[in-house]
C-alpha cells in the first residue's frame, strides 16, 4: 500500500485491491471493502449536496452499525470533522455538546433523528437508514478529497471534564493515522484478523477498531450495543465470529468472566486481548485468561488526547493474578518522560510527545496552551509534550507504572492520600472483584463489588490491617455492580451521590 496520508486511504486501497474481502461484520451480515467504499462515497456526495464543507463539524448520533462507519468515512472524506455523540446521553448533555461544536449537519438513526427534530433547526439532517437520492458523479467527492490537508481536523471526541464544561479533543488525519498505524503494527494485524468493535464511537478506543483494522484490510466485527449488556450473548458472539483481536475496557472482560458461561465457549481463535481505559483488576484478568489459551494480553495506556501510547505485554505465565499490571513502555513514535526537570524524576507526571498527540481542544486555545509544555531533554532535543495528569514511576525492568491521577492525590486532615492506592488494597481483598474510593465532605468512601454474601465486616478489618488509619474508608459499601459511564469506566461521580444511601450487602 502507498503510504496513507488520510484516515480513509486504507479503505480506498482495499476496495481497489480486495473489493470482496469483508470489511464489517454485523450480526451475521457482511459488508465488503468494495461495498463500504461505495456507501461512504454515496453518503459523502449527499453531504456535499446539503452544503457541508471542509472544516464543518458533523454529528454522528447513532448506535454502532455498518451505516455509522460509512458515515464516518463520508464525513472525513470531504474534509469535514466527525463528532460522535454518546447514543445513550440525555438530551440536555447533547444540547451542550452541539452548542460547543456548532455542527453543520447531524447523521442519526431513525429514532434519534426525530428526537432532536424540534431543536437545532439550522442543522441539516441525514437519516442513516433511509434511501438516499442517487449521488452526483463520484468525481465531486474525489475533487473534495483532493482539497484536504493531512493536518485538517478529522474528529472531535467530547469529554465531560471535571468542571462539567465539555472539552472537545480534536485530532487531525495525521494524528489519528499515526496512532492507527502504530497500533496496527503493535498488534501485527493482517488481512486474516477479525477485530472486535466493542467500544462506542464517542470513545477513543474505537479509532483502533475502525482505522487500525482497515489499515490491515482486516475484518471489523461490530458488537451491537445489545450484546454488550448480556455477557453470555457477548461471549457467544466472540466465539461464533471467531474474533482474533479483542479490544475493550477491562469491565467488558470482567462481565464475561463472571456471567458469560465461559466454560461452554471456545475462545481458541483469540490471539490478542488488548485492554485500556482504566486499571485492570489482576485477579479477574487471570481468571479470564484460562479461557483464552492462545492469547497474549496487552495493557494499553493513553488519554484521549494522545491515543494509546504505551503498552505492556503479558503472556499467560506473566499473569500472577496479584501484581498490578504495568503500562509498559512507550510505543513506536512516542517519547515519554517523567516530570519536567532536565533529568527525569523517579516519580512524577507522565509527559508525552508524539505525532499521535491531538491538535488541541476545540475552540479553546487557553486550555490547549495550558496542557502542553515545551521541554529540552538530556538528548538536546526540544519537543512539545502533552501533560497527561497521570502520576507514574518506573519499575526495576524499566516499565512505566501508573500510580494514579495527579488530582486523585488528596490531602485529608493533613495526610497525603492516594485514592488509587486505597482502591488497589481493597481490590486485593478476598472475594472482591473491583473497588472504587471517593472522597466526599472530607471523608473516604469505599465501594466494592463481589458476591452477594461478601463479608463487609471482614473487609473493614482487612482495610484496617493493610492501610494507615487515616486512609481507611469511613464506610465501605458492597454493590453487585459499580456504577459505570457509558464507555464502561467506573463512574465515581455517580458513586459520590450514592454514599450512605445504599444499605451494605
Amino acid at each position: 500500500m502507498q503510504e496513507p496520508a488520510f484516515l480513509d486511504d486504507a479503505l480506498t486501497h482495499w476496495a481497489a485491491t480486495s473489493p470482496d474481502a469483508t470489511a464489517l461484520h454485523f450480526v451475521g451480515a457482511a459488508t465488503s471493502y468494495g461495498a463500504l467504499e461505495k456507501a461512504a462515497d454515496h453518503l459523502a456526495a449527499h453531504l456535499i449536496s446539503l452544503g457541508v464543507s471542509r472544516g464543518d463539524r458533523v454529528v454522528v448520533y447513532a448506535a454502532k452499525s455498518p451505516n455509522v462507519i460509512a458515515a464516518v468515512y463520508a464525513i472525513i472524506r470531504i474534509g469535514a470533522i466527525y463528532v460522535p455523540l454518546d447514543p445513550s446521553a440525555p438530551q440536555e448533555r447533547l444540547n451542550t455538546l452541539i452548542a460547543a461544536t456548532t455542527p453543520a449537519a447531524l447523521m442519526a438513526d431513525p429514532a434519534r433523528v426525530t428526537l432532536l427534530a424540534t431543536q437545532h433547526t439550522s442543522m441539516k439532517r441525514v437519516n442513516l437508514e433511509s434511501e438516499l437520492p442517487e449521488p452526483a458523479s463520484p468525481d465531486v467527492v474525489r475533487a473534495r478529497a483532493l482539497e484536504r490537508s493531512s493536518d485538517d481536523p478529522a474528529y472531535i471526541l467530547m469529554t465531560s471534564g471535571s468542571t462539567g464544561t465539555p472539552k472537545g479533543i480534536c485530532h487531525t488525519h495525521k494524528s489519528g493515522l499515526a496512532y492507527a498505524k502504530m497500533a496496527a503494527k503493535r498488534c501485527d494485524l493482517t488481512q486474516t484478523d477479525r477485530v472486535s468493535h466493542h467500544t462506542p464511537l464517542h470513545f477513543d478506543m474505537s479509532i483502533f477498531d475502525v482505522f487500525s483494522t482497515a489499515l490491515a484490510g482486516a475484518m471489523c466485527v461490530i458488537i451491537p450495543e445489545m450484546y454488550a449488556k448480556i455477557p453470555a450473548s457477548l461471549a457467544k458472539l466472540v466465539q461464533d465470529a471467531r474474533i482474533t483481536v479483542w479490544y475493550s475496557v477491562p469491565y467488558a472482560l470482567i462481565q464475561m468472566t463472571e456471567r458469560g458461561a465461559l466454560d461452554t465457549r471456545d475462545f481458541s481463535a483469540l490471539r490478542i486481548i488488548m485492554l485500556a481505559g482504566e486499571r485492570i483488576p489482576p485477579a479477574a484478568l487471570k481468571t479470564f485468561s484460562h479461557h483464552a489459551p492462545n492469547a497474549t494480553f496487552l495493557n494499553a495506556y493513553g488519554p484521549t488526547e494522545t491515543n494509546h501510547c504505551t503498552t505492556a505485554t503479558f503472556t499467560h505465565d506473566a499473569l500472577d493474578g496479584i501484581t498490578p499490571l504495568s503500562i509498559g513502555r512507550p510505543d513506536d513514535g512516542v517519547i515519554a518522560r517523567i516530570g519536567e526537570g532536565f533529568l527525569e524524576d523517579e516519580t512524577g507526571e507522565l509527559l508525552i510527545a508524539s505525532e499521535q498527540v491531538m491538535r488541541g481542544y476545540w475552540n479553546d486555545p487557553v486550555r490547549t496552551d495550558a496542557t502542553f509544555t515545551i521541554l529540552t531533554s538530556a538528548d538536546g532535543e526540544t519537543r512539545k509534550y502533552y501533560r497527561t495528569g497521570d502520576l507514574v514511576s518506573r519499575d526495576k525492568a524499566g516499565n512505566l507504572v501508573l500510580l494514579g491521577r495527579m488530582d486523585r492525590q488528596i490531602k485529608l486532615r493533613g495526610y497525603r492520600i492516594e485514592l488509587d492506592e486505597i482502591e488497589h488494597v481493597l481490590g486485593r481483598a478476598p472475594n472482591v472483584t473491583e473497588a472504587a474510593v471517593i472522597v466526599k465532605d472530607d471523608a473516604l468512601y469505599g465501594f466494592v463489588c463481589g458476591p452477594a454474601d461478601l463479608d463487609i465486616t471482614a473487609l473493614n478489618a482487612y482495610a484496617a490491617a493493610h492501610l494507615p488509619a487515616y486512609a481507611v474508608p469511613a464506610c465501605i459499601t458492597g454493590l453487585t455492580q459499580l456504577d459505570r459511564t457509558s464507555t464502561g469506566k467506573i463512574d465515581r461521580n455517580a458513586l459520590a451521590t450514592r454514599r450512605h444511601d445504599i444499605a451494605t450487602a
Partner: protein, 78 residues
C-alpha cells in the same frame, strides 16, 4: 406473566408502559444492571434457577420472550 410485567414497568422503568413484544434491549430501555435484577426477580417469583448460559438476548429481549423462557423452565422442572 403479570408480576413480571409489573416488575419491569414499575421497578425497573419507573412507571413507563411497554408492549409485551417490545425489544427492551435494542432500544436501550433495560441496561445490564436491570437485566441482573430481572434475573433475580424471575428466580424468586417463579421458583426457577436461571443459569448464566440462559441469560442471553433471545430469552430476555422482550416480555413475551421472558414469559416463554419461564414456562419452558417450569415445565422442565428447572
Amino acid at each position: 406473566m403479570a408480576p413480571l410485567k409489573h416488575y419491569i414497568q414499575d421497578s425497573l422503568l419507573g412507571g413507563k408502559t411497554v408492549e409485551d413484544s417490545e425489544n427492551l434491549l435494542l432500544t436501550g430501555v433495560l441496561d445490564s444492571l436491570a437485566v441482573m435484577s430481572l434475573v433475580a426477580f424471575i428466580e424468586q417469583t417463579y421458583d426457577i434457577a436461571v443459569p448464566f448460559e440462559d441469560v442471553i438476548i433471545e430469552n430476555f429481549m422482550a416480555i413475551d420472550a421472558m414469559g416463554h423462557y419461564i414456562r419452558t423452565r417450569q415445565q422442565s422442572g428447572g
